[in-house]
């Protein structure tokens, strides 16, 4: 012991130094595997996997890689239901549901299912197809109480924009068409609404997968809501395409920062906990306008929704940049609204004067007017807010103007054929 130095100091320094060396050595060793890359084991030691390893082995393999399996969740925890569950059936000594619903997911994820139930991914997604026909009285009341814009009645937006094409195309077509996507909000016989599987693909339930835009792009694509195409055009999408393989996709919820994801994906902006915003499964929580509607209006949560989304943007962008974007996008929306109203007035005028029937999709002009807002108008609006200029212009406003011109010309022709009534 050096003379004069207190032993506490000497021992303190020596012990600290030794431990720091040990810590350094440990940091140089292999990590031993990350959650999700090491299989728990196919021998999950329960009756289900014993059989299903032979019958449907990849389900067992997928689940074995999941964080849920590593957390000790077993097949029975999701699939076994009470005897009074109308979706259950007997299976090898268990009473199970083949497709767990939010009722089962909500046992461990109550906040997520509650948020989902309040969102347009929930009931409004299905109501848009078939109205409230498939909902029990209890479910209807829940929807009316919790999702203001989904109310039935003359001013209920969802009812007002229910797509009559669903009836026209009928059950031969729609199960593989509209229903595939809109079933995300389908009512279930056990009283719950929706399907978590639409995004959280079974059986791996990968966090990284659900954060990638392709998962949303399953449904949010195509001429009527080309969000994935717009995203891919945008700078955000380009950064994803060119650098996304280096991002930290499995960062724990609530811990995401721009260090993990230097550019956002759909999930980042609309759902992830990021910056000041907590994670939400209510996809409308950060939205301020009903862009999907023929004539866009403000959402009930306009102020809070806009502030929430702006706070996400501000993780990377200055307030001026964000405000400027919103101002310009609002202008595009106002322009589209005007043009759609113009077309709508023309169609309503024709119906009122008996020139065409009020039956939807019975005349060519009604299809044209539908395309005008459903394809072109929405594309322009989505393109504006999501920074896809080509979609604002050449896939949006330009075809909208061309279509409006066609509607005007066709309306004039129809009036002429009907004796010139205005």
């Amino acid at each position: 012991m050096p003379s004069g130095l207190p032993k506490t100091l000497v021992i303190g320094v020596i012990v600290t130094g030794l431990f720091l060396i040990i810590i350094y050595i440990f940091t140089q060793l292999p990590s031993g595997g990350e959650p999700g890359t090491k299989q728990v084991s196919v021998n999950l030691a329960d009756k289900c996997s014993t059989c299903h390893k032979r019958v449907s082995p990849d389900i067992v393999n997928q689940f074995a890689r999941s964080t849920m399996a590593r957390s000790g969740v077993k097949c029975v925890d999701c699939h076994v239901v009470d005897r009074d569950n109308p979706m259950g059936k007997d299976h090898e000594g268990f009473f199970i549901t083949v497709s767990p619903t939010p009722k089962q997911c909500g046992k461990c994820h109550p906040a997520e299912t509650r948020q989902f139930d309040h969102s347009r991914h929930g009931a409004p997604a299905w109501v848009a197809l078939n109205g409230f026909a498939d909902f029990s009285a209890e479910q209807q009341k829940f929807v009316s109480d919790n999702i203001p814009e989904a109310n039935r009645g003359p001013n209920g937006i969802v009812t007002a924009t229910r797509n009559s094409l669903f009836d026209i195309e009928g059950p031969t077509v729609t199960p593989l068409a509209c229903q595939s996507c809109h079933a995300i909000g389908k009512p279930n016989a056990d009283g719950s609404i929706g399907n978590c599987n639409k995004c959280h693909l079974r059986h791996e339930f990968s966090l990284g997968q659900v954060r990638k835009p392709e998962i949303c792009g399953q449904c949010h694509l195509g001429p009527d809501h080309p969000q994935i195409e717009i995203y891919k055009e945008s700078a955000h999408g380009v950064m994803y395409d060119t650098q996304g393989d280096t991002w930290n996709w499995d960062q724990k919820p609530g811990r995401l920062t721009t260090a993990d994801m230097p550019a956002p994906t759909c999930a980042t902006c609309h759902m992830s906990g990021f910056g000041t915003q907590g994670t939400t499964h209510d996809v409308g929580e950060r939205l301020s306008k009903f862009l999907f509607a023929a004539v866009t209006s403000n959402r009930p949560n306009y102020v809070s929704g806009r502030e929430a989304m702006k706070s996400i943007c501000s993780n990377c962008h200055s307030p001026k940049f964000v405000d400027d974007l919103y101002t310009k996008a609002d202008s595009v929306t106002a322009f589209v609204n005007l043009k759609v109203k113009e077309a709508s007035d023309i169609i309503n005028g024709l119906i009122k004067d008996g020139v065409i029937t009020s039956e939807p999709f019975a005349t060519q002009i009604s299809y044209d007017a539908f395309d005008l807002w459903h394809y072109d108008g929405r594309t322009a609006k989505f393109g504006a807010y999501m920074q896809g200029p080509d979609f604002v212009q050449w896939h949006g406003v330009y075809p909208l103007l061309r279509q409006l011109n066609k509607v005007k010309e066709d309306a004039a022709k129809l009036r002429k054929e009907h004796g010139g009534k205005r």
Binding site: G4, L5, P6, K7, T8, L9, I11, G12, V13, I14, V15, T16, F19, L20, I23, T27, S31, G32, G33, E34, P35, K38, V40, S41, L44, A45, A69, R70, G72, K107, C108, P110, A111, K252, P253, G254, R255, T257, G273, G275, T276, Q277, G278, T279, S311, S314, N315
Partner: protein, 295 residues
């Protein structure tokens, strides 16, 4: 009021008698630790029933400490209840550690470093055990001139292997050790940066200093000097750590998100260093008499 001196280096006036202050200290710690646990367990929505155990325990334990602290000579039944509650607290802490360890073992019972680092903090529940043990010792008094003979109010005396003060020193030292180890594990999550190393380096140093004193039969004034300023530094490091964690949770936005507070940097955790620093000063504070240097 109690005039005390800390290793001949500082004279302070405690607002009340030292033992009572210790009990209040324990009660406050149980309370805040309980709040911290409630926040942490809310992440799982309290679905596992056993996560309610510390939440039911902490208010009862804290109240017992506060009640006993205001009884100059607690009655036998009060002392017994307090001892039972503190013993329960030790059990809660040990059980909690077992639960946390079980949680990070994958279903097959093996451990990976990822789960050790990112999973539930294994040593955190021992805070309940340590605080409760402190609460247990706080109601005892050492018989004058007979080190190791501890009198429990209304219950008589028992013979401890070491003096009461050394018990306290060991608790402080082990508290620093657990905090340092937790800091090493938690800060491994995103790599060790220079400011994260402050907590680790200091924690290891403080552990060594305190345990060296606890083990020593003799120490010099210079050792006292090192100990004293290490405890002061602990308070500073604790407050600094609180600031760093708060800054991380603010995410550069100036606004707190509850989710980030719950799952990102635990805001109250660094204050444990400050807590231990204050306790470390309190346990060596004596009533203006020469602190014996021999055990």
């Amino acid at each position: 009021m109690d005039n005390v001196e800390i290793f001949h280096l500082a004279n302070i006036r405690l607002p009340m008698e030292k033992n009572r202050l210790l009990l209040i200290f324990v009660g406050i710690n149980l309370f805040f630790t309980g709040i911290d646990v409630a926040l942490a367990h809310s992440i799982n929505y309290f679905i596992p029933v056993y996560e309610w155990i510390p939440i039911f325990y902490f208010p009862i334990g804290a109240i017992s400490c506060f009640i006993i602290s205001f009884e100059p000579s607690p009655r036998k039944w009060a002392a017994l209840v307090h001892i039972a509650l503190m013993s329960a607290g030790i059990l809660v802490g040990v059980l909690g550690t077992a639960f946390h360890l079980n949680a990070i073992l994958n279903p097959l019972g093996s451990l990976t470093w990822s789960w050790v680092v990112f999973g539930s903090p294994v040593l955190a529940p021992l805070a309940f055990a340590g605080i409760s043990l402190l609460g247990l010792y706080a109601i005892t008094e050492e018989v004058e001139g007979k080190e190791g003979i501890l009198r429990v109010p209304g219950l008589g005396t028992f013979h401890a292997p070491i003096s009461r003060n050394r018990h306290f020193l060991w608790l402080v030292g082990l508290g620093f050790a657990a905090s340092a180890l937790t800091s090493i594990i938690d800060h491994a999550q995103y790599g060790y940066s220079p400011y994260k190393m402050i907590a680790i380096v200091f924690g290891l140093f403080a552990t060594s200093v305190v345990i060296t004193i606890a083990l020593s039969k003799q120490w010099t004034k210079r050792d006292e000097f090192v100990y004293f300023w290490t405890m002061i530094a602990a308070i500073v490091v604790g407050v600094m750590g609180f600031g760093f964690h708060l800054s991380a949770d603010l995410a550069g936005t100036g606004q707190l998100s509850l989710e980030r507070m719950l799952v990102f940097a635990p805001v109250f955790a660094p204050l444990l260093y400050g807590d231990l620093g204050m306790l470390g000063l309190l346990v060596v504070a004596e009533k203006n008499k020469q602190l014996t240097m021999n055990n």
